[in-house]
């Protein structure tokens, strides 16, 4: 089967650094971090104080009725709406039947889950709301988008913790490349700010007490974020036929599993995912100009990821730029790599290296050009975006500038 070229023709996003694609990109270019004191829960009961929440978010600005839609699914619907509009799609019955929706989320409807749990264990009220199941289910974002646009093709949710959205985008990419679908809405979303879930992150002791400082010697951990991002993918032929604007091209996808430890990342697993993505893209490693790193800001990830990049890229590791945009939009778990895909695509399209914010001190174990604290103009022909999840599940995408 011949491989079709797959392009990105629509983008939509809601995040802690911008509630649409333009604002998100401006924040990246300005190295503007959205990390601030937690407001969604009582932070006096938390050991960590900061997160990257979507501030001043009022669901009624976007929805008439959110009875069935938890916050993470709202974010997917909002970003899908922007992406569909941006791609200027004219739905026909044939297109609806040949479009797929593949989204990532790690934890699904946490707020409905927490509300139901509280009610179920309450001494005065032992019953829960009848719409709890459709609110909690992680595939509710896909189901709601399918209903909204009448999309009837293969659609599902992928949950692989912090790699969920890269797995989703990669699967959608392969489906279009192989002719299984004509168009895809893909990406992911997350909103992890329910109180009990934050306590779980507190307990596992990987959240920074101040801010996420990827690759910096004094880094102390990740900062949680939230949001949603949706990409419209289609074959190059389809995009050109309908005169769509093209943001860039997806050319490679690689996946691996560490098979070693449930939370500690494995260098070998990360290397294999990057190598498989390069092989899938049919490009040599020295073509890559920029890597949007997994870059969580934890001691374990950033040094492991640096070492893996050295192994995969050899001496070229010293020529390429590597940054972590999590320093600005936070770690939005199952949605994060969709946010990062958009940062990578726009960086490639605009010839701008997204920066690593909050960087303070060089670490010899992270001796790459991490584009510290300031975006930089540079032509980017090929870019990679990494995601290495708890569970030891890895997913890497490769994008190419479209000209």
């Amino acid at each position: 089967m011949s491989k079709r070229r797959v392009v990105i023709t629509g983008l939509g996003i809601i995040s802690g650094i911008g509630k649409n694609t333009g604002d998100f990109w401006q924040s990246i270019v300005n190295c503007q971090s959205g990390i601030a004191p937690v407001e969604l829960v009582d932070r006096s009961k938390l050991r960590f104080q900061n997160a990257c929440e979507v501030k001043n978010y009022n669901p009624s600005d976007y929805f008439e009725n959110i009875d069935l839609i938890d916050r993470f699914a709202q974010f997917s619907l909002i970003s899908a709406r922007e992406a569909v509009k941006d791609a200027n799609i004219e739905w026909t019955e044939e297109l609806q039947e040949n479009t797929c929706i593949i989204l990532g989320t790690s934890i699904g409807g946490q707020y409905a889950n927490e509300t139901a749990t509280n009610a179920a264990f309450s001494e005065t009220k032992s019953r829960v709301h009848p719409l709890t199941v459709p609110r909690v289910m992680p595939n509710s974002s896909v189901g709601n988008i399918s209903i909204k646009y009448g999309i009837k093709g293969a659609s599902y949710t992928i949950s692989s913790a912090c790699a969920s959205s890269n797995h989703a985008i990669g699967n959608a990419f392969w489906m279009i490349r192989n002719g299984v679908a004509e168009m895809a809405l893909t990406g992911g979303s997350e909103s992890p700010f329910s109180f009990a879930h934050l306590k779980a992150w507190e307990a596992i002791r990987v959240v920074s007490p101040d801010v996420c400082r990827p690759f910096s010697k004094n880094r102390q951990g990740m900062t949680l974020g939230e949001g949603g991002a949706t990409l419209v993918l289609e074959s190059l032929e389809s995009a050109q036929k309908r005169g769509a604007k093209i943001y860039g091209e997806i050319i490679g996808f690689g996946m691996s599993a560490d098979a070693s430890h449930i939370t500690k990342p494995s260098q070998e697993g990360a290397e294999r995912a990057m190598e498989l993505a390069l092989k899938d893209a049919e490009v040599s490693s020295d073509k890559i100009d920029y890597i949007n790193a997994h870059g969580t800001g934890t001691l374990a990830n950033d040094s492991m990821e640096t070492a893996a990049i050295h192994t995969v890229f050899g001496s070229h590791a010293n020529n390429l730029a590597v940054s972590s945009t999590k320093s600005m939009h936070g770690h939005a778990l199952g949605g994060t790599s969709a946010l990062e895909a958009i940062a990578t695509i726009l960086g490639t399209q605009n010839g701008i290296l997204p920066p690593t914010a909050n960087y303070q001190e060089k670490d010899e174990a992270c001796d790459l050009d991490v584009v510290p604290n300031e975006a930089r103009e540079k032509r980017i022909d090929y870019a990679m975006s990494n995601a290495f999840a708890f569970g030891g599940l890895n997913a890497v995408l490769i994008f190419r500038k479209f000209e």
Partner: protein
Amino acid sequence: MSDTVFQKVAELVAARVHISPEQVSIDSTFQDLGIDSLVALSLIYDLEDEYQIEIPNEEAMNVQTVRQVVESLGRLGVE
């Protein structure tokens, strides 16, 4: 059949489907009112809250009109 109960049911139905209580009659069907199976579940939840009762499945699953709701509540001792 209790008129007071009907008035309260009409209010709760109206709130669920975003219409005014005057638009709800004793003979309105769920279909007329745009109440699908999930909205019906939410309405039953509201009624349990309002009257501090537990509506068993055999009652909940068999109501398709406002009249049936009021009659069902009557069987459960709500007047």
